[in-house]
């Protein structure tokens, strides 16, 4: 029994393969870093997209445990970067909004480390899959890419929709504001003109223009 337990523990250790997908808010002049421990030889993918805010751009920077910059882009809206871990250690990636003075940005990122864990342990080529099983596997992969496309579509739609909602509120405020300004300016014009003529009671010359 102990043997099986140890075997299972070993198998569990090998299963450090994850996909982390998060959407967070990046305030202006802020930088947010994320870290992940990766073992050597693992193929990783970092994908990010700016969802709302300003010109929808953000600085992104990916460093390996030695501090070598693997990926650095300034003011990028969307990108996908794949790399293979050259050594064991903590990899760090940062998103920076330091170039912006007052716009908050919402950033979505998807950091995939290794491949997705298989549903069963014997999928590593030990036993051959039946036709049904391999069909299931290919459908699963296709559905995964459908879900991925859906996510990116949703993010683009969110971008458009939040812009439209901003526009809507801005139009409302601006119209009320401008009506108010219009009234104030016209009334003060008249009052100002009146004040020019009320003071000079002694002048008899006609003020012509």
């Amino acid at each position: 029994m102990l043997f099986w337990f140890l075997l299972l523990c070993v198998q569990l250790m090998l299963g450090w393969i994850r996909a982390s997908e998060l959407t967070f808010e990046l305030p202006d002049n802020a930088k947010q870093c994320f870290y992940e421990d990766i073992s050597i030889g693992t193929k990783c993918t970092l994908e990010f997209q700016v969802v709302t805010g300003g010109h929808y751009d953000v600085d992104c920077r990916l460093e390996d445990p030695d501090g070598t910059v693997l990926y650095k882009e300034m003011k990028k809206q969307y990108d996908s970067f794949t790399f293979t871990a050259s050594r064991n250690g903590t990899f760090k990636f940062c998103f920076s909004n330091e170039f912006s003075t007052f716009t908050h940005k919402t950033v979505y990122f998807d950091f995939q480390v290794g491949d997705d864990p298989p549903l069963f342990p014997n999928e590593n080529g030990v036993t051959a899959l039946t036709q049904m099983e391999s069909a299931c596997v290919s459908i699963h992969e296709a559905l995964k890419s459908v879900i991925d496309y859906q996510t990116h579509f949703r993010l683009r739609e969110t971008q458009g929709r939040s812009r439209a909602e901003d526009l809507n509120t801005r139009v409302a405020f601006w119209s009320i504001g401008e009506a108010f300004i219009l009234l104030v300016v016209s009334i003060s014009q008249v009052l100002l003109l009146r004040s020019f003529f009320s003071d000079k009671k002694t002048t008899t010359t006609r003020v012509g223009s």
Binding site: M1, W4, F5, L7, L8, C9, Q11, L12, G15, W16, R18, S20, E21, L22, T23, F24, Q32, C33, F34, Y35, E36, D37, F111, P117, L119, F120, P121, N122, T130, M132, E133, C136, V137, I139, H140, L143, K144, I147, Q150, F153, R154, E157, T158, G160, R161, A164, E165, L167, N168, V171, A172, S175, A179, L182, L183, S186, Q189, V190, R194, F197
Partner: protein, 244 residues
């Protein structure tokens, strides 16, 4: 991952069992192992970030309705003497707050230094998950940062296939098909949500259109009216002053 336990024990123990009781005990042990290892698996090291003492970190999840979200987190505190992060600290907790798209709080609880929160959305939209530490002992931090490992699983990823296989006694093929069904379910929900969002977008655009139209008309009318009023008022004013 815990399905490994079930599969291995089933395949490898091909020798005939002595009695029914022994088989039952083994099955019980297997299931216990499955659940234990699954719980362990959920706390395996994942993505982490640093958070200050009073800092509140919020994450947004835009999800359709009736979608389950499971979040796992683990905190580590920096020990200045040993200059490393301690595995777990007593008395250090995190306060988790989840708000639904209408800004209503649907989950607001305090967990220990390691926690797992689960909630299901009832309205589609942007849910906000906020974390902040509840450390009352300021000395613990002393200007340092707290390391938080976070893992948020949404929708189909929350399913524990090992548990499902064990509970419903599914074969390999059946489990695969079940996984595909869950995935398709999630896609369908997302498509429905997409339809709802598109409708909202359309309504917003039409409202903007209406507002712009009305505003242009009203502005022109105000301008013309103001113009008339100004001229009439000034004319009467100058006539009173005997300048005209």
């Amino acid at each position: 991952m815990g399905y490994v336990a079930l599969e291995s024990l089933r395949m490898r123990s091909a020798r005939p069992t002595g009695s029914v009781q022994m088989a039952a005990v083994r099955m019980q042990f297997t299931l216990y192992l499955v659940f234990l290892l699954n719980i362990y698996n959920s706390f395996v090291s994942s993505l982490y970030f640093h958070i200050g003492e009073t800092e509140k970190k919020c994450f947004i999840e835009e999800i359709p309705d009736e979608t389950m979200i499971i979040g796992n987190y683990r905190t580590q505190l920096y020990d200045k003497q040993r200059e490393e992060y301690l595995p777990a600290t007593q008395g250090l907790g995190m306060f988790v707050e989840v708000k639904d798209p209408d800004e209503k709080v649907i989950l607001s609880r305090q967990y220990g230094s390691e926690g797992r929160f689960i909630f299901t959305s009832h309205t589609p939209g942007e849910h906000q998950i906020c974390l902040h530490s509840n450390s009352s002992k300021f000395a613990l931090f002393a200007g340092g940062m707290l390391r938080v490992h976070l893992d948020i699983q949404v929708g189909e990823h929350t399913n524990n296939y090992a548990e499902i296989a064990a509970k419903d006694k599914l074969t390999e093929l059946q489990l695969r098909v079940r996984q595909l069904m869950e995935q398709v379910d999630q896609i369908q929900k997302e498509q429905n949500y997409q339809r709802y969002r598109e409708e909202r977008f359309r309504q917003t655009s039409e409202s903007t259109n209406q507002r712009v139209l009305w505003w242009s008309i009203v502005q022109t009318l105000i301008l013309v009216a103001i113009g008339f009023w100004q001229m009439r008022h000034l004319k009467s004013f100058f006539e009173a002053k005997k300048l005209v």
